[in-house]
Amino acid sequence: MNPFRLVIIVGCGIALLGAGYMSYYGVGLQSGDLAANAASLRAGSSGGGYNSLGRIK
């Protein structure tokens, strides 16, 4: 097989495997607003309200 073609196929395979690994283990997808070792339950509270989802009526 043409070496360049091999590089393309291997590259695609590595990208799929890499993305699959990161998706499977959730790399970098932990919530970023959690309080580690926290005593406070309030950490990360986003509040709420009529416009909290960005809707403007």
């Binding site: 799929l16 993305a19 607003d33 989802l53």
Partner: protein, 431 residues
Amino acid sequence: MTAAVHLSSVNCTQCGAGLSVLGGGRVLSHVCGYCGAVLDTQNAYKVIDSIGKRDHPASPVNIGMTLTAQGAEFTVIGTIGMLETWGGRTWNWVEHQLFSPTHGYAWLSHEDGNFTFTRKIRDFPMRHWLSSRQVEASETPPHRSFRGETYRYFETTTAKIDFMEGEFNWRPRLDDATTTVTLLGPNAMLGLVDGPTEREVELTTLLPRNAAMADLGIPVGTAQPPRYHALTPYRQLPEEGAMKRAFGVTTVLALLLALAFSIASGSAVLQQTRIPVSALPQTYSFTITDTARLASVTFRSDVQNAWAVFSAEITGPGGAPILAGSRATERYSGVDQGERWSEGNGYGDFRFRPTQTGPHTVTVALEETGTDGIRPQNAQAVDLTVRQGVGSGFWMLVCAGVFALAWAAIHARAAMHRKRRFAGSDWTDED
């Protein structure tokens, strides 16, 4: 310069200048480059016409040069200057008649720094002839099929001869006009030439410029730099076809895997439904067995035109708090200018990565609540779910996006080339 061998010559019967004879037995006329006499080669070089002394049009190609085209060696035997005037603008180009003892007559054209090679063809079905009138009457660019390729209308030119010198296998006359309808195919141009006495079909291909110049003996630096030509071939990327296929397949696979990761949302290690909000805070136990993958805490409340913020504090196997987080759940709906709308789904979650296996606890509490809108309902109950082994389709979607962009970029490159080829067409949709 490469000179043809075995030259013979005659003297001009008008001015006596020596004229090279290069063109073979089917030459009908010879135009003296010194005095402009048009000589009948079939009748003892008798003078039949004269164009007088005229300025030679600019062309790096001279009579006597040779080049190899389509596997045969041709000699330049004549030069024709062409002039087209339309809409107050003027275009000039130069065509050179070529002769090969084995392949007959052809044309070498020089325009905008490019060299094209043209041959008459006999196998075009004349019932598919396209005239300039038919073009004018067409709603869409006409096209014709020839030798398995599709040729699409490109331009119509009506040009006349304003200079000639050398030998020709016909009898050109100054100001003889021809109308050519040109169709552009993938690798060649089809010219339907409507001349003073006959109709002819020509096929034109672009010669590799540097190779043609080297063959003709023209130093590359002395010729004008070429402008883009409609026959400029598309330069494929290395393994372009393989790249397109690989990127397309990878995109589809990544999308399917993203879907699979999104659907497979781990296994529930704690599921409590309809926990009365009035009974909060409540503490529940669950066991974590997988620390390699993410875990998630999900709240779902029954709010309506209201919001409620729930918190969860999680303790590890030793009983010490390891993290805390909170999420708002909200849901709104109503009618606005006669249209029903809804927003939010009463759902909130967060994800964390457990560090230890073993028994854990989660304490759920209501942090804040409020209402907004008509007929509001505060949270009466909340569902709590803790899952482990949670994946995500996010990175697969990123992967699919990157490969889709790469796939689209390759297609766009080819599409831009096709568009650029026809950029010089005189077709307008108003035609």
